[in-house]
Amino acid sequence: MAAAGGRTLGRSSFSRATSNRVTSSSGAAGVKIGPNGAAFVSSGIPDLDRILGGGFLLGSVVMIMEDADTPHHLLLLRCFMSQGVVHKQPLLFSGAMKEPRLFLGTLPAPVSSSKEDGRHRAMGAAASSDGRANDEGLRIAWQYKKYFGDDSRAEHKDNKQEFSNDFDLRKPLERHLLNGQNIECVSIQDADSLSGLQDCCSAFLSKLPRKDAGSLTAGRIAIQSLCAPQCRYFEKDWDMVSFIRSLKAMVRSSISVAVITFPSTVLSNSFCKRWQHLADTLLSIKAIPDEDKDLAKLLTGYQDMVGFLHVHKVAQTNSQVPVILEASTLSLKLRKRRSLVLERLNQAPVDGSSGPSSAASSSCSSQGSQLDF
């Protein structure tokens, strides 16, 4: 209750002018209109939204290649799902587990005010029952803004206050948010084929309002570990590719985004490539070892890092120009063990060399533990 109250109040005091404009242009919270007739929904991680040029493109299929050893992809998936719940967008979740609905209990709750949350979260929590006091607290936060100097960041936050939240990975989402909503869960563990899931997806998508209906209620489909070996259809490679292809076709013609995570190592090389070609946005996650002394020396902020996120492909609508990112490998960090941030890799100066301080797109530098300059 506290977070929900804080959020609505935040809207009224934080960004009165902009939120009006945004809602009038997009028609729904959580959908942002970009250039080229593109519309985005948030991935639940503000940094990732920024990197991808606005968020996950509506009508696209996002694929996340899982790390073989760690469940870090679940962080991304959870943020994506939570963001949908917060925006009251219909959600379809399917996972290779017995009780997919239990997974909803692990969704993180939004942080009411993300940057300076230390003190203000305390303030907001203390005054959560009293709306007026909460409003007061947020106003102070807003007044602080001009002293921060970081204009772009502040503006960015102001505009996107509605669009994307920071999530506190240690705090579960309130039950009432999960119960009162359009959330469907499908288990694919015991399914012999994917046709059941496909029917679910098409039923889910057909319930969304049509593209030309004017309102933009975006649907979110999250599929966890689509090709997990414990699923019975695991051997049917072609069925899986065919499923992704038809899912892509369905998503294209509706207002929705599908996020699929898959353990790429269990697929054969050629099928892995097929899957990658079918993705509109392709990300991969790599964990980093806990106590790697060499890596710790090489990269600054190593203690907070949980892994690397590699951006292989960025969805492009109605354009043939590929998106070239400044850096395609980013470090995935847990700030204060709570919220996810993505940062470019910062390479610490190596002893005895005048090495460059920033590694732009160096996925290799992360692996190269012995560097000879």
Partner: protein
Amino acid sequence: MEEYGGGDLLSEAMGSAARVVVVEDCVEAPGAFVLHLLLKRALASCGAAAFLALAQPFSHYDRVLRKMGCNLSLHRRNERLHFFELLGFRGGAREGTIADSFVRLYNEIQRLVEANRAGENASQFTVVIDDASLLEVVALGSVNDVLNFLHYCFALTSEMNCTLVVLIHEDIYADEEKMGLLLHLRYIADLVIKAAPLSTGLAADVHGQLSVVNKGTFREQKAKAQKVWNFHFKVKENGTDFFYPGTRH
């Protein structure tokens, strides 16, 4: 490809009379832009085209080509472009087997080609497939059906004076035993255009490199014609720049 374009490197490298063009690409360097370019050229010279779109919906191609100065909607209305929206196409889903659905698709293409030939101003006809790897998915892995289909399309080129342009994702077929489709396509191709990422990594100014292998040059008795071309490309909204490595700053 009848006409020489604006004198860019790609059209120079392609020569004039390639019947079968195979465009290869990979995850890191998508080659769809070559297809867009070839489609635009095919329609520009009063030609007609059949576009088998398995990868993207019509609106995508329409918007992309419009920025390149080619109005697909208009061409479609004038029946110069025959667009097959195959995004949700499924082989053997309801009526008949996979082979049947391919036969139906082929019959339709053949009918169009014949109609185009019968018309008073018989123009060049181009069949574009985007992309052949997805045809395999449609066929649920039955490579023979896809090969049959492609072979029939290939037969059209010699019999009916039309051109075939096929996109294929080359990296899928990196395994030796699974190369079937790619090898066949390479064999029937007069011209192989291969897009690859730069070996040095991502760059903002150069999006990748293109190698063009022209197998058909001997037909034109041009002894001096170059067989293999390598150059870089940069994709823009309204076209693509081609240039030799190092000639751009």
